[in-house]
Amino acid sequence: MDSPRISYNDFPEQDEKRKRLVLDNGSKIAVVGSGPAGSFFSYYLLDMAERLGLDIYVDIYEPRDFSHTAPKGCNMCGGIVSETLVQTLAADGINLPPTVVQRGIDSYYMHMDVGDVRIETPLKEKRIGAVTRGSGPRDIKEIKWESFDGYLQKLATAKGANLINERVTTVSFNQGRPRIKTRHGSSRTYDMLAVAVGVNSPVLNLFNGLDIGYHSPETTKTFICEYYLGSETIEKYLGSSMHVFLLNIPRLEFAAIIPKGDYATVCMLGENIDDDLVKAFLDSPEVRATMPLGWQAEKRSCWCFPRINVKGAQQPYSDRIVFIGDCGVTRLYKDGIGAAYRTAKAAASTAIFQGISIDDFRQYYMPACKTINSDNAIGKLSFFFTSQIQKYRFARRGLLKMTIEEQDLKGSKRCMSTVLWDMFTGSAPYRDIFLSTLHPAFLSGFLKNIASSLGRE
């Protein structure tokens, strides 16, 4: 397809203006934040520039050292690399090694008060990666696995990005170009700035006052904690399955236990998560039955109440500036790393192949954000339905019965299992999941099982 740049040839003034807002040989780009979004952006920007023979310079500003244990190197996240992202990265030449992936996930257990069911991946293959974003919890004795964020950062620096281990304290504009000042007083002006900071970072506040139309995302509180269990105990009790809990606990939307190397990570989503809600979940019989004998809920290795993005930022772009990952638009509740990959790559390809003006980002970057935003709207609806199922015992029984009965069927006939798998692992867009629930086979099967459960109740 022809680039719209050609049409500007008829309008020299606009063409001249546009020429100033493209990356060229010698262009300098700053990336603030080196979580997955910042590292993916730097990696792909340099990769695409290399394909075009474009010589650009990328500086990544990241004060944290991911080789440190929490909280110095942590990015406060459940640490799941979805099935879709594992495949996409592999097709894109990034094969996640077992030195980074602490446990390959091949199945999940759904735990409810009415019973449990195990659902396997269609190909019985380990296609989901459980990772830690930093180098592990604060009480870790031996670092056996590499930090996921550290691994991606190394990919970016191996491509040629320059890592600056300093905290950004001021962002301003110098003759229309972004200028970065760090805590140590160094100040540099760039041709472009990619902002890839998390929603929990105070650095994000620097951008709300820039008068570029950007407003940071709406957030909600989550709970994440780590338990040291040891590799053998994890293998014995949790295996290579993600454990998902659909419990009728007020304010609890979703909870999961993710087995990793020597630790298990507990993730909770819900309304105003606090210590009481955490206690109610961890003390539930379903959690007690899942964890090893003698496990004590209060003996946590590390925990936090990080905020997550639940409504995308307003105008995550301007001339020479783009917001990617969590500080821009991300996926509701699931696959935040996948959303970081998608927005980072969309921003990198816009900057390299189209330009870095506000119009370029609006035309070529924003569609990727809009796709995620509109999918999130359907996601909200899907989570609402899930919460209704959580509330009613007969609905939970119907769901369990249908899922158990499906396990002996072929992949394509396992309607409920597929919907639940995609919903809980973040493997498919919410739109696809929602459409699957409208399939006559799904509806008739679910209604039949609900009716049967109602009869038994």
Partner: protein, 125 residues
């Protein structure tokens, strides 16, 4: 550290792809090697040996044809499956994702050209 090894492990000689079957995925070699061969008149003709990071079975993604060759593990090998539907949906959203496959196919065509030239040259002697 095998807990984090993604994909599936195939033992030496285990067949991953059968020539003539319908395929709906491709594989990316995570560890080890696989050999690609075609069967002709009861004989196996080895086409190539592929290693870590290489893609195999990618033609099934782009063509609705049966598998053109058999692929089996040469020694223990670990491969990750990439589903056709998932992959094509992502390519539709991000066409640059196909770049590495095009690059790999381009490399194979170059190697095939060399082989065709060598065979023609040998036939003319």
């Amino acid at each position: 550290m095998t807990e984090g090894a993604l994909g599936r492990v195939y033992q030496d000689g285990e067949v991953i792809i059968y020539q003539g079957e319908v395929g709906n995925c491709m594989y990316i070699i995570q560890e080890g090697q696989v050999e690609v061969f075609v069967e002709k008149e009861g004989q196996e003709i080895r086409l190539e040996l592929l290693g870590e990071g290489e893609i195999v079975g990618e033609m099934a993604i782009f063509e609705n044809e049966v598998r053109s060759a058999t692929v089996r593990a040469s020694g223990q090998a670990r491969l990750l499956t990439v589903d056709k539907r998932n992959f094509l949906r992502r390519v539709h959203e991000d066409p640059s994702l196909a770049y590495r496959i095009v690059q790999s196919m381009s490399h194979r065509i170059r190697e095939m050209n060399k082989e065709v030239a060598r065979l023609k040259w040998a036939g003319n002697q």
